[in-house]
């Protein structure tokens, strides 16, 4: 898709979101949409590393939680406003990504995944033992009384998350259409060959882990205000790791569109299921959808559509 058209589309969506907040009073829509948009960011972030370079991150929870707890820390210490929290969350998580990238740069892909898992456990233990941000008890966060520009805070958070979602997709799009993206693809296809042909694999991998981590932290930063309660179990929840992995895979990992489709599809299904079927069958549905899609469409929805388009052409 041409870049200019996408920019127009993005602006249209943003305006649409804004209009929505003016028209629809039903707050449930915003709470549910926030979660789906959050997953767009997480899935896109995961895919920058996992889909483009092939390095599967298993510790999304760690980066997301870094964003969450940076916000909590800032709220508790200096009462920082949301934009500052977002930037700080991104920076902290990005540094974490840089760190883990550096630590594991010699590891083959699967070892990297295990290392991210280990990292999540270590970080969770550290947070549990840090009383200032609540520790194991968790902490109640009081939302600011007034939301800037909007009648209530949830609509504000919804707009913020829409912006973040579009922003992260933009980052993914830019990477994909640049030399960096081609370098990533080279690493994914055959890292050794890429090294031999002069691709700066180390620098690229570090860039990927940093950007990916940063975006995950950004996704987590507004979480304290969204939920008004934070505890390590929710922040480090396995479902973040699982969903941020499943959504790009279901949608298609080779392009920015895949995570978006996957996030919208899986995210919406989960939100709907929570308030309709609402029982252990929820988990069953997620499991069945995962197996179903991955077995029948291993290249994701994007891959499936591409294949059909190709056959239509032929």
């Amino acid at each position: 898709m041409k870049g200019r058209w996408l920019l127009v589309l993005a602006l249209v969506l943003l305006v649409g979101a804004f209009v929505l907040t003016r028209l629809v009073d039903n707050r449930y829509v915003y709470f549910a949409a926030y979660v789906v948009l959050q997953y767009v960011v997480l899935a896109t972030a995961w895919n920058i590393l996992g889909g483009y370079t092939g390095y599967v991150n298993f510790g999304t929870g760690a980066f997301f939680a870094m964003g969450v707890y940076t916000s909590v820390f800032l709220i508790q210490s200096v009462g920082a406003p949301l934009p500052v929290q977002i930037v700080a969350g991104g920076v902290v998580a990005g540094l974490l990504g840089l760190g883990i990238g550096y630590l594991t740069l010699r590891l083959r892909g699967t070892f990297f995944s295990i290392a991210t898992l280990a990292l999540a456990v270590v970080l969770q233990t550290m947070i549990i033992n840090w009383e200032y941000v609540g520790g194991a008890k968790g902490i109640n966060i009081i939302r600011p009384a007034q939301a800037p520009f909007f009648s209530n805070y949830v609509e504000f958070l919804f707009m913020v998350m829409s912006l973040l979602a579009i922003g992260s997709v933009a980052v993914a799009w830019l990477i994909e259409h640049s030399r960096i993206g081609r370098g990533f693809a080279a690493i994914r296809d055959n890292e050794e060959a890429a090294e031999c042909t002069g691709v700066p694999t180390l620098r690229l991998k570090l860039l990927a882990t940093t950007v990916s981590g940063c975006l995950m932290g950004v996704a987590g930063a507004p979480f304290p205000y969204y939920l008004s309660f934070v505890d390590p179990v929710s922040a480090f929840n396995l479902s973040y790791a699982l969903n941020s992995l499943a959504m790009p895979v279901v949608g298609g990992t080779t392009t920015w569109l895949g995570p978006v489709i996957g996030a919208i599809l899986l995210g919406t299904t989960q939100q709907l299921a929570t308030v309709t079927i609402s029982s252990e069958l929820n988990i069953l549905i997620v499991g069945v959808i995962l197996v179903f899609f991955v077995v029948l469409a291993p290249e994701g929805i994007v891959g499936l559509v591409r294949r059909l388009a190709r056959r239509a052409d032929a």
Binding site: V56, A115, A120, T253, L290
Partner: protein, 292 residues
């Protein structure tokens, strides 16, 4: 205050725990270490094993370990079925889509977990066996049967698997299949059959490991998730492809957890274990006994 008594007991407790961890991780060691299949659902099969042992135990007062062994062939078949689906969807295409396989197994994890919830409910289940709660004392060292039996069983399983992989034709075929399937075919073995066999064996170990788990503590369907990290960490720490390495790593992690719990603070026990893993990976990426 580091008294010798306490230290000895902590080490022994760690070793016992390690034997149990080895039992849980053996399946991952085979599938991830030898076949390069990331079966993240393995722990939920362990839980399934715990429940099958529970069923026999509560209905017919069968000893859980015996139940675990009795069900092992059933689990083997289950493993065969799961692997067939996995193979047809992923490996047969030639591309090793790691992420895709992961998602597949996550789906399986959820499906099995829900099946357990639907059948058994979410209440905690425990088993009754005459030796649970008894312990023997060797001087200052106390050993609870509740942990001794799983440890011994874990050691036995490791030994059996080790011998199988080292000395039998099929065992050696499994070792070779990930590395050189062409050579394997030339020797008359079908790589797909061999991999299926290996996967089946790994799920069979889950049946026994589950029986051991429910001996140690109460289970409910979602506790499997806590073991995902440990099992993979142990396999990687030990070195992919090395069964002996898995046992060693399980022991190391068990002892590390035990020592941290006893002397500095149980809060940090898991962090210490994973910290050790990260350190080893940073220094020696292949793990302790890994080949590369």
């Amino acid at each position: 205050m580091i008294s010798l008594d306490l230290l000895l007991n902590a080490v022994v407790a760690g070793v016992l725990l390690g034997g149990f961890y080895a039992a849980v991780s053996l399946g991952i060691s085979v599938t991830f270490g030898l076949l390069d299949v990331v079966n993240i659902a393995h722990p939920v099969f362990v839980i399934l094993g715990a429940y099958t042992a529970f069923t026999l135990n509560s209905a017919y007062a069968v000893d859980p370990l015996l139940a675990g062994v009795v069900f092992a062939p059933v689990f083997f078949l289950l493993g065969v079925v799961v692997y067939r689906i996995y193979y047809t969807s992923f490996e047969s295409k030639g591309e090793s889509s790691q992420a895709g396989g992961l998602v597949f197994f996550f789906g399986i994890l959820f499906i099995v977990e829900v099946a357990l919830i639907l059948k058994f409910g979410v209440d905690y289940r425990m088993i009754e066996a005459s030796y649970v709660g008894e312990s023997i004392h060797l001087g200052p060292i106390g050993i609870a049967f509740r942990l001794l039996v799983p440890c011994v069983a874990g050691l036995l399983m490791t030994l059996l698997l080790y011998v199988f992989l080292g000395k039998t034709f099929y065992g050696r075929a499994i070792r070779g299949v990930a590395q050189d399937s062409l050579a394997l075919r030339l020797m008359g073995a079908d790589p797909v059959k061999i991999k299926t066999l290996a996967f089946g064996i790994s799920i069979a170990t889950a049946s026994v490991a589950g029986a051991l788990l429910i001996m140690i503590s109460p289970v409910e369907p979602s506790i499997g998730r806590a073991y995902i990290g440990r099992a993979f960490a142990i396999t990687v720490l030990g070195g992919l492809g090395s069964i002996g390495g898995t046992l060693a790593a399980a022991m190391i992690l068990g002892v590390a957890e035990s020592l941290t719990s006893t002397f500095s603070g149980p809060s940090w026990a898991l962090a210490v274990s994973f910290g050790i893993l990260l350190l080893v990976l940073a220094v020696r990426p292949a793990g302790l006994f890994g080949r590369r």
